[in-house]
Amino acid sequence: MTVSLAWALGGLLVILACCCLLDRQLRRACLAFIVFALVMSFTWWQLGVPWLAAAEALLGSLLTGAALLHALGRAGDVPRLPQRDATPPRGTEAPAHWLAALAWLVLAGLALAALLRSGRLPLDGDVELSLVPFALLVMVLGLWAFAHHRHLLRRLLAFNILGSGVFLLLAGLAGPGPEVQGLILVGLAVALVGSVLGVLLLRRLYALEESVTLEPGAGP
């Protein structure tokens, strides 16, 4: 993989993450996530870890995507979730969320800068390294969205994006060695289980209380 392809993939990932996280239309957001996961899978393949690519495609894209779509679907005799996030927008708290995310970004950036300056990174890791800024961006976007959104489905999406960002960062920093693969595989499995569990619970919660947030008072 060349550096420019890495740049292109990274940019694509950021855009897809934005699409996924900023859209109030939930189905669209889920679809964006599936595409995002597919791109991730492609990236893994390009980085020379096909097993990981397959796992990402299977666990991340297929199963997680299916689970997310299931949340919005009609299966079973429980009432269907509204297709649009109708929670009121955050008012004064929004800047704080941005600031927190920014601080997180700066912090991670500082750590990376220090790491780069120390020169202890493998020198031939340009491709991986060029993915790092995009990974950071994706991660921070995910983090922001997780803190900002109220709708639980969107928070699950945010969590998945955040996770992918972290995986990408991991690979970018340490290269796709066996340890990294192990970590990412565990992470993927956990994310899948978490998402499935989250979706099931969300449907249950909606069925019981017609609520899609954690705050008992706030309606959908």
Partner: protein
Amino acid sequence: MSQEIFAVLMIAALLWPLVLVLRQPLMTALTARGEVRFPLDSLWATAPLPALLLALLGADGSLSLSAWLLGGVWVLDEPRRVLLAFTALLWLLSGWYARGYLAGERDRANAGNGAAASRLARFALLWPLTLSGNLLLLVAEDIASFYLGFAVMTFAAYGLVIHSGTRDALIGGRAYLIMAVLGEGLILGGLLWSVGALGTLTLSGLREGLGNLEHGVWIGVLLWLGFGVKAGVAGLHIWLPLAHPVAPTPASAVLSGAMIKAGLVGWMATLPLGESAASAFADLGRAMLVVGLVGAIGAALLGVCQRHPKAVLAYSSVSQLGMLAALVGTGLLAPAMWPALAPAVVLFAAHHGLTKGVLFLGVGIGEHPPRLPAWLLALLLTLPALSLAGVLGSGLATKWAFKAALYEGDHSALVTWLSLAAVGTTLLMARTLWCQWQGEGQARRDGLVPLAAPMPLAWLLLVVSALTLPLWLPALGLAPAWPPREELFGLWWPVLLGVALALLVGWLTRGRPLRMAGRRLPAGDLWWPLSRGLSRLWVATGPWLVRLAAAKTAWVAWWVALEEAGISALDALGERETWLRRHAAVLMMLVAVGLALALLFSTA
């Protein structure tokens, strides 16, 4: 006599009254319900007999009991024997007398008066108890036993004082108790201080060491005043004229005859009399002398204004004890004189004890005159009075004893003062007889049933033993001398002057102005202004106390309010939890950032 017999006698003397005390509730419990038993039976009256036996038969000796309190040492020596003898005799005869005196109570109790029955039971219980205290303090050589005896006697006698339960009795009892407690406190302070400084446990050790102690004179002052309460030192005497008239007559007799001598015994036992003491003790002696004389003369003046014969007699006791105090003071002032003075003081105590006992009992006799010819009765009533004034019998011997000692020590000024006091005594006696005569006349007019058996018999016996004191006292080792003929006038003139004065006053006033004075100078003199002042002070401080209590309540309420406000503030703070819960994600980011900052900038 062997040591064992002495020990048995000593223990019997002290224990027998207590056995009789314990016997009372036992008998009551054994008596069938509904049946009324007269608790003052003849066995009860034997309470002081072992003590009398001890005084008469016991040789000098001591008994040590290591298990007893802090180590008991009970001693019988010459002065103690005399004191013990007259005390036991007085108690014995008074007890016998009481059996007759309280017969009226018995009749009421038999008639179903529960209050009378319980009064009787109480009297029967407390009389031997008081006696045991009195005896113990006389024979005690260790300080703890002495104090024990003193306290038992003092507190048990309270029940005797308020026997009748009338308002006057309660007031008298209160005065008695308050002053007694104050006295006990002073004594305790003095004893603890001296014992702590000297490290001794016996009275003789205390007496010998006190004189050279650094602050010894202050201890002396404490002891003087502490025992002075009992001995009626001027100013502290106020309970005497209040308590004596209200107590049953036999109780008054022992109170005035025997118990107030405990104060004197205390002085003699603790003050460094006859020891080469620090010069400060001379000042103390001077003070005792002056205050004693003030008491001796002042009490006489107050006493003649009284209407109740027992009140007059009580003042007379104050006056006599004042003389004794003056003599003791002289002993402090001039230690060299004390060996000569001491027997005189003991004799004086014995004489006064018995004679005053007779006089008190005589008051009862006067109120319930026996079937005797009037002249005989009058004579028998007058003789002890004359004796007390120093005209004849034990009075004369006593007076001569201390006069001789004082002349020898070159204290003729004191003799003059004491003679003045004797004038006062004569006046008091005249006043007593006058009051008694009036009372007897009243009684005869009312036609009261004269009382039989124990009362007059006991009284007569006591009259005889009091008058003949100098005759039988040598048997106990103290041999008083009779005055030579040429000294008689020197001894009699105060009496003659007193009689003349009394006649003059009696003729001048025919009783009226004295009654006026009596109204203005009630028995207990200082007690009334003091108690009024104190109660006024109490009333005045009342609002302050209320305010203090209110302030305390407000303080507590303030704290409670503060606590409530604090809790509600905390509750409000606790509401922030919702916020924390909602923003956990942001908080996590902030915690991480904060930690990172702390990590980066701490050692950088």
